[in-house]
Structures are given as structure tokens and as C-alpha cells.
Symmetry: C2
Subunit: 418 residues, 2 copies
């Protein structure tokens, strides 16, 4: 496309591309914007080095190679802040520049947002299901090794307390949290058989009694007894990773209390998702470890965001051959709410045609990039706060885990066609 | 775990960890091993640099940091060749070394194999569904930006013809294939309205008539007429990306033939998965573009591989508290077949206790790493050939797309407990 546009003289046309979702994943009531910070971090690094150019030289002409050699995105980007709620049709990102520079960003932008939004949107449902109890993301091993780092970041934005992914701590400051594995307990096996107490002693010796001991390697009751025998009643937590977690949590809580370990917490893990987390709400569980379901988006591993050309040289454009919802022209969005703060409607309107409304409203579209330079936008704490505020602003129905409609409707103010 | 093991004197114990799946994804009949080449490529790079050590110094003791500073895996790895079929319990990877070095590899190994196997296993079903017609992987934008590269590689191993991911071509030699987007057609809009022929002229001018023109931006019939008018009957292919692909493929075939473009191919895309690919088998479709479903594992985005300690200092170990299938001890595997080549059973047996069988059999476990050094194993063409041979060796039932049992049973020869 780039080669043909350069040759045809259309590469420099002024364009706007928008990134949005035609729909939420099946039955979801809201989505969480995530990936903005990663996109802004990577944008200045998105260049073509000699190794890339050499590979591209196998099939690209010299003019195109020459363009790529000097490439650096120099346009503008507006969009939703990271951590913002979104709904079908929300213009999450609006990218303006020449066709050449905007079309080159397509895969980068979609990959980042489709992945990170999928994770954050699933994670937020788990956060509300946990009702204030901390969640730890521990799914690195269930997804691609680099996706794992982004997933830890996205889950943290959505309200998880931290992640077992150490690279996410190093690179993004996501709190590193974790426990030990069954392998560590089984390591303490000799010719005389397993020795769970030896494993617990080694862990407590290294980390102190305020650690989390994994008690279900052999037998949960014996495991809890061994844990308290070794660490004493100041033991930080025990982890249960198998079996009926509700029943076991109650048994373990009683056993801990009877042993005087009344402040020892109960940490549960093992194929948890938002539904099983919610099902444990009445049980004496103190925190959750979540793996597979969060890093795979709990049934929706991609957010179905698309990146569509909406304007060329000031002219709104739109694909017309199908019934797919698509609206030409550059857009902005505002969200209307009741005086109580509960949101009621999202309005997507043509840029420069501000909505006239008496209702409390908030402009969602903010500047992210100007002339190729990121302007703000990579603050994880701010993104976390925005998710928390967004979840609070949802109508009651919006927090239900069951399949349903988007929590609020999106109104598209039609573009005035020229 | 590492810190506690170093402190407790158990870090140097000789261990074996095995990577395997307790079950296939729901209803799947076989899986495809993928990721081996990436694992072997990354193993020598898996070290802890100063930036990593500085971050870890926030919570690790000096002995552990010192161990990590000099870390390089020095053990042995055996496993299934990349492209091999696998079934529940197949010992896909067997990692031997000290506890310290083996436990450090856990997340790396699981991340790579869980991701790549999920993609390759889904892709192989699409390949059989396509019945010999070429498939192009074009899902980069629907998954994490680095996962996309691995996904292109895994789909290629499974039998896809190539990928639109250029980095997969540069790094792995996956053939780069692709078409243009609706944005390119819409770019050719002026104050007088859309100009599809201008877009087609620009593309043909840059790439010659043997290109693929996207004909469904505005109206498919007009698009096909415009495409042939511009490129002539030597046009390589037309692409349809929306609507009922079966009906449209027939209409477009007839139209192309009536225009004399009898050798112009019909390329279809748009939310295809193995089922919709199979449903198009009777239609005049020449090739398929597959995105979301292949890069997300078509409903199974992770392969549920686990990495379990099975032996410590020569003693088989096993978690006993649950009913999960787990078998201690170092294992190897062979696959038995009929004289026709159709496979009938997989036998997992203790290492060094070779199976005595009169049936044709093939040893599945091969050396991958010796003393930390990869020994062979990163040949994409060989992996592709192995997938093709594996699919041919499956019993007829094994290729059905519907939910079913694993195509062949796995027999676990019990370890002789000491």
C-alpha cells in the first residue's frame, strides 16, 4: 500500500484513522481502555533499522525503502486516556497525519490496544467480583513471554494488586507479588520420602514468617498444621491451589483459628475467573491468584478493535458495501452523567462540533501526541484511578457479570457530509 | 524459591522437570508441538543483565543475586521435535539440571510452548479444513505485537502458506504474503467522491497485474468489474472480506469468468475459523486469509501445558493431594502404528526402560540441549514436514473438527517406585 501510494502521489494526503470497536465482546457491558502508555512509549521507537530495510529490500522498490529509512511518525494523536471506560463506537484513538505515516502505524496500534484492552477489560470484571479483596496476576506462563509483561501491566491498571511477573515490576513498576510452587515443596524429598516441614522451614528461613506457604502439595490439613508448626501463628498466609476452594477455605480458616493463627490470611488460586471469584465472595478468602483467565481475556482474548480511515483531505470517507457500523469523519466524544455521577450516555460527535448539553458531561478525547511527540499519558497510577472511578460511575446493571447489553448507549451524531 | 533453596542447601539437587498437558483443549483430538525452535533460540539469551539484577536487588539477598549474575542454563533437555503431534500426558519437554537452573526456566518454557502450541494446534485444524487450498495468516493486529511474530511462525509450521507479518519473514523466513486494505481504496477519494479504479490503477502500477485487488469496499460486482477493467484478465486475484463468502465467491467466480479472467483467483477473508473454512470447501475459493481465530487459538488461546518436578536426586516425586493426573519419574515416549502408518497408541514409559513391542513404533523423545547447548531442532521446514506427516498418520476420526476424544489413547507405563 505504501509503495503504491508513493508511486501514485497519494501518500502525502492528509488522513485521519480511528481505532474503535464495533461491539464489545459477547455479553460484556463495558470495556477498559489500556495500552495507551505502551503505544506512546513505542511510537518514537517505531522506526526501520538497517536489518529491517535489508529484509524489506527483497520486495520493495527503492523509493519506498528510502521513505522507510527516514520514517518517524510526525502526526497527531488524540484519544481516550488509559483506564477510561469505552463502549461500542467510542473513538478510542484518532490518528492524524499523511496516509503513509498513519497506515504504517496500523498494526502497531491495533496489536497493542487489542491485547491490552482484552486483558484490562477481563481483569476489571474480576476486580469487581472480588469486592475489595486483593488479586494477584500470575498468568505469565499461560501466554506469550512478552505478552505476559503487557498483561501484568494491564491487569494492574484494572485494579489488580500486583503480578508475579518481575519484568513488569522492572519496566513498569507493577508491584511484584507471588508465592512458591509445588515443585519447591517436592524438592524436599529424600530417600525417606517427602518432607513438607523441611520445605516450609527453608522458605520461612529465607523470607521470614510473614510469607505465604503453599499447603496443598500432599494433604491440606497436614499442610496447614505443618505450616503453623514451622512458622508459628505469625505466618503471613497459606495458599490453596486445588480442590473445592470454598469448602477448603472454610476448613483452613477454622484450622488456622484453632491453631491460634487468627491473622494468617487464606490465599486461593487454581483456574479462577470472574465467576469463580464471585462465587467465593461469602467464603473466608483473603486474596486471589489469577492466571489463565486474566491473561487470555477470560473468553475474549482480543478486543476486536479496528483501525479505519475516516477522513481524506478533509473529506469524510466510509466503507459502504456492508452493513457494518462505520461513520466517516473525525470524531470526539463526551460522556453524560446524572448529577449523582452515574453515567447515562456516550455521545460521539464530529470534531469541532461540540455537543450542547445541560447535563453534566465530561470530554473523553484528550491530546496524546503532537507532531510525533507524546504529550503525557503514561501514568499507571492515574490509569488505575480512572478505572476505579469509571467502575464507580457505571449504572448498577453495568457491573453484572452475566451477559447483557452495553451499560450505556452510544449516540453517534452524524457527520455533515460535504 | 531460588533464594530459599540456595539458603537451605537444596538448590543443587539434581532434578527433572517435565512439560506436558493433562488434557487437550475442550473437544480437540490432537495437538501440535510448537515453540521448540524459539525455546532453543532463547535459552542461551536467558541471562540476568545488570538492569535486571538492579531491579531484583530490591528484594533478593546477595547470594541469590550472585547466583543470578553468573546464571546460564547448563543442563540437558530432551523433548518432542517441533511439529510433532502430542496428546494428554505426552512428555513434550524433559528438563534436567539442578533445581535452581530448572526452576528458573519454568516461565520461559511454559510461555513459549503454551502460546505457540495453542496457535499451531488451531492452525493445523484450519489447514485440514482448507483441503489443500493455501491459507495466509493475517492476525497480527489481533494479538500482542511480539506474540504476533511467534503466531505467524507457529501457523506456518502448521501448514499455512505464509503470513502478512514482515518481522516473521525477517526473523524466521516465513513467506510474507498479503493484500491491501479498504483504507487504500478509500484513500482515493476526492471532492467528486470515491474512485475505486484510481486505487486499483495505483496498486497495479506498483505491483503489476498479478496482484490481489480488494473488491468489496463499495460494491462487490462493481469492484470486480473495476478490477478487471484496470488489471485486465491477467489479474492475479480478487479479495472478498465481508458478506456471505460462499454466495459471493460463486458470484464473483462467474463474473470473473464472464469477463475472461478465468485464471484470476478468489481470495476470501473475514472472521474465518476452521469451521467456516470447511463450510467453504464446495465453493470456488482459491485461498483464505485468517486473522483473529488463528492468533487466538480458535477458542483455546493457551495450551494448558504445565511444568512439573518429577524427579529429585533420582527419586520420583509427585503431588498427591489431588486427583490431577501426574506421574513421577523421568519419562520417554514412543508412538505405535499400524503397518499402514496410521497411529494407534502413544506409550509413555520410564526413561531407560524401553518398550518391548512388535508393532511399528517411533521414538518421540529426542535430545534438544546438552550441557546448556542447543543440539539441532530449529528447522522450520522440518517442523512443517513433521506436521504434514503427523496429520496424515492420524486415524480418520482424528481429523474431525467436531468435539471428540483424543485421536489415540496414551498409555502410561508406571514408574517403578523405589
Amino acid at each position: 500500500m505504501l509503495s503504491a501510494a508513493l508511486r501514485g502521489g497519494t501518500a502525502d494526503r492528509a488522513t485521519t484513522f480511528e481505532l474503535f470497536a464495533r461491539r464489545l465482546p459477547d455479553g460484556r457491558r463495558y470495556g477498559i481502555v489500556a495500552g495507551t502508555g505502551r503505544f506512546l512509549e513505542m511510537l518514537p521507537q517505531f522506526i526501520f533499522d538497517e536489518a529491517a530495510l535489508e529484509s524489506l529490500a527483497e520486495f520493495l522498490d527503492t523509493d519506498t525503502l528510502s521513505y522507510l529509512r527516514g520514517f518517524r511518525f510526525g502526526g497527531d494523536v488524540d484519544g481516550y486516556a488509559e483506564g477510561e471506560l469505552y463502549f461500542p463506537g467510542s473513538p478510542v484513538l484518532s490518528v492524524r497525519g499523511t496516509f503513509a505515516e498513519c497506515v504504517l502505524l496500523e498494526t502497531l496500534a491495533l496489536s497493542i490496544f487489542n491485547h491490552d484492552i482484552a486483558i484490562a477489560s477481563a481483569a476489571a470484571r474480576m476486580v469487581t467480583a472480588a469486592g475489595g479483596r486483593p488479586l494477584i496476576e500470575m498468568g505469565s506462563r499461560r501466554t506469550h513471554e512478552r505478552a505476559a509483561v503487557a498483561a501484568a501491566r494491564a491487569a494492574y491498571i484494572a485494579g489488580f494488586a500486583g503480578s508475579s511477573n518481575l519484568e513488569a515490576q522492572r519496566h513498569y513498576g507493577v508491584p511484584a507479588l507471588g508465592t512458591s510452587a509445588h515443585a519447591f515443596t517436592m524438592l524436599h524429598t529424600t530417600a525417606d520420602g517427602p518432607d513438607e516441614q523441611a520445605a516450609f522451614r527453608a522458605q520461612v528461613s529465607a523470607l521470614g514468617p510473614d510469607t505465604t506457604l503453599l499447603v496443598d502439595t500432599y494433604d491440606v490439613s497436614t499442610g496447614v498444621a505443618n505450616a503453623v508448626a514451622v512458622a508459628g501463628p505469625a505466618l503471613g498466609a497459606v495458599r490453596i491451589d486445588s480442590g473445592d476452594l470454598g469448602i477448603l477455605a472454610r476448613q483452613v480458616r477454622e484450622q488456622l483459628d484453632s491453631l491460634g493463627a487468627t491473622r494468617t490470611r487464606v490465599f486461593v488460586s487454581g483456574d479462577l475467573d470472574e465467576f469463580s471469584i464471585a462465587a467465593l465472595r461469602a467464603e473466608p478468602v483473603d486474596s486471589y491468584g489469577v492466571g489463565t483467565s486474566v491473561v487470555t481475556g477470560s473468553g475474549a482474548p482480543t478486543a476486536s478493535m479496528v483501525y479505519k480511515l475516516v477522513e481524506v483531505d478533509g473529506i469524510p470517507v466510509q466503507k459502504r458495501s456492508s452493513h457494518k457500523e462505520s461513520h466517516g469523519g473525525r470524531k470526539q466524544a463526551v460522556r453524560l452523567s446524572r448529577p449523582s455521577g452515574t453515567i447515562v450516555e456516550e455521545v460521539v460527535h464530529p470534531e469541532g462540533d461540540p455537543l450542547d448539553t445541560a447535563e453534566p458531561s465530561r470530554v473523553l478525547t484528550i491530546p496524546l501526541v503532537r507532531g510525533g511527540e507524546p504529550v503525557g499519558g503514561a501514568d499507571l497510577a492515574a490509569a488505575r484511578a480512572l478505572v476505579a472511578a469509571g467502575l464507580k460511575s457505571l449504572p448498577w446493571e453495568g457491573l453484572k457479570l452475566s451477559h447483557g447489553e452495553p451499560a450505556i448507549p452510544t449516540r453517534q451524531v452524524p457527520v455533515r457530509w460535504p
